[in-house]
């Protein structure tokens, strides 16, 4: 985690809860010219989902839900669609969860976003409600989420959120500390020059120590690390080996939704959608002949493992893939397991710093001697 400015933040009043406080801050920032527009999650008119919305008219902010109950379109995808044509000097404040912001940083390394005039605002995340549960019963989803936000009990949140030890990471230029902060307050933590600039434009002075928040966060994250380790060990037992893995992925219907919603999978043409993997019927027949039968369409496992090899080092475990899976394959948990192992081996943490190089575009002269024979 990056350190806040001299360990100081701004303790802001939030009598009506953190969402209202963030809305107020955004409104003030817009008024004072800190940003031209705001990208923030908002309830859709039908009331059964949330989307990132680019807000120009601050009146609309009343409907914003900065801490939304569900992760629908990954925020990094929203930022990509905004800035992929390059920087045009429009200042945008983008509100999102830490995992979304981490993906933004990875996409910057992949030249898919331009952050020159984007100020990212993140907050402690209580997790999100599984997307399909929410779609089935939005009212119940809202209730469950409100409770999680109030109590920080994540047991009804997505499994990937329960094991997320970075849900309090201060990734954004401004981060809102909620956990362990006294009731009726939120702690605004600026980071780097952009964060300080934004704070100055808001007319605030960082004068409140962040220690208390940090201690509470570290404690909570340590607990989640334990949950994550237990979850991974369980998964390792279940999914290990060919038959276990195929059982876990057995319900996959090759829709490639997981790839389409993945913020890191940015390629315009995916190898797994390309004609390269279309073979002749006699080729399939040869393969069926060898094993007696062949699952069609074929190469389901190749798709998942191939996708792993392409994006797992930058995987932020946001869980968008699992939310998008129509058949309930625990794909985010599986990817998170491999991501954790791989990132540890490469001593890389996605979203940690935009200055850090992605592991596969750099090297050391002496390393990985264990794979050389």
């Amino acid at each position: 985690m990056k350190e806040g400015y001299k360990g100081l933040g701004v303790l802001m009043d939030a009598p009506d809860g953190p969402n209202a406080a963030i809305r107020e801050m955004l409104r003030k920032g817009h008024e004072r010219g800190a940003c031209d527009a705001i990208l923030v999650p908002m309830k859709v008119p039908s009331g059964d989902s949330y989307m990132h919305v680019l807000v120009d008219d601050v009146e609309m902010l009343d409907r914003a839900a900065p801490i939304s109950p569900v992760l629908t379109v990954q925020g990094a995808r929203a930022v990509t669609s905004l800035t992929r044509r390059g920087d045009e000097g429009v200042c945008i404040a983008a509100v999102m969860r830490p995992c979304e912001a981490e993906a933004v940083i990875e996409l910057r390394k992949l030249f898919q976003v331009d952050l020159e005039h984007i100020t990212i605002i993140t907050m402690d995340s209580p997790g999100t409600v599984p997307l399909q549960d929410f779609a089935r019963d939005p009212e119940e989803g809202e209730r469950v989420f409100a409770e999680a936000l109030a109590t920080w009990d994540d047991s009804a949140m997505r499994p990937i959120c329960q094991t997320c030890e970075k849900s309090n990471s201060a990734v954004g230029d401004l981060h809102l500390g909620l956990r362990g902060v006294q009731t009726g307050k939120v702690l605004l933590i600026p980071q780097g020059e952009k964060g300080l600039e934004a704070i100055a434009k808001l007319g605030l002075t960082p004068d409140h120590p962040i220690d208390e928040w940090k201690q509470a966060s570290d404690k909570a994250m340590a607990r989640k690390r334990g949950t994550r380790k237990a979850n991974h060990e369980d998964l390792r037992k279940r999914a290990s080996g060919l038959s276990g893995l195929l059982d876990l992925l057995g319900a996959c219907i090759n829709c490639h939704n997981c790839m389409r919603v993945c913020p890191i999978c940015y390629c315009k043409q995916c190898k797994f959608d390309s004609p390269e993997l279309r073979n002749t019927s006699s080729d399939y027949l040869d393969r069926a002949d060898r094993s007696g039968s062949l699952r069609m369409p074929s190469d389901m496992l190749l798709f998942h493992m191939g996708r792993m090899s392409h994006m797992v080092l930058s995987c932020v475990s946001c869980g968008a893939c699992e939310d998008a899976c129509p058949t309930g394959v625990p794909v985010a948990q599986l990817f998170s397991l491999v991501a954790h192992d791989a990132q540890e081996r490469f001593e890389y943490m996605p979203g940690r710093s935009s200055e850090e190089k992605r592991p596969l575009v750099t090297f050391e002269f002496e390393e990985f001697s264990e794979v050389e024979d």
Partner: protein, 149 residues
């Protein structure tokens, strides 16, 4: 040829290995092994690539899933890459492949990375023989016969 390639063991297992050989060092090394009349098993199917760093993990996985019992990636020794540093990138890509196979419990021993220079005909023969023996001990790749792949 008198080597192990034609020999099937008691279960009738004849290993088949795909080799990715870099054009500048290892392919020339393999060529030298041949012209030196060294014993190189025909169980290996060599594929010439311009650089070992060109071997995307997906290529290795494709070979395994289509039933190769092992995959060998060879390139110039570190420091000797024709493109200066391709093999360092190859090593990282290979380490990632190794990690994915390890994390998923999918027999990482079936893949091997070795450095073979153009002058190392004997080393090429040794690497291939050794690897095929290892694969023989491992037995057939279960992916070859799995019906739900």
């Amino acid at each position: 040829m008198t080597s192990s390639d034609a020999k099937a063991d008691s279960q009738g297992f004849r290993p088949r290995v795909v080799g990715f050989l870099c054009n500048w060092c290892s392919y020339a090394g393999a060529d030298l092994a041949g012209t030196s009349r060294l014993d190189v098993p025909a169980a290996i199917s060599p594929i010439r690539v311009m650089c070992s760093s060109r071997v995307d993990p997906v290529l290795i996985m494709t070979a395994l899933m289509r039933g190769a019992d092992g995959v060998l990636v060879t390139g110039c020794h570190p420091g000797d890459c024709h493109y200066d540093k391709g093999n360092y990138f190859a090593r990282r890509r290979f380490a990632l492949t190794d990690q994915i196979l390890t994390s998923l419990g999918l027999e990482p021993e079936r893949v091997r990375l070795s450095w073979v220079s153009a002058s190392e005909g004997p080393r090429y023969a040794e690497v291939v023989n050794e690897f095929i023996e290892e694969i023989r001990e491992l037995g057939p790749n279960p992916m070859r016969t799995n019906r739900s792949l």
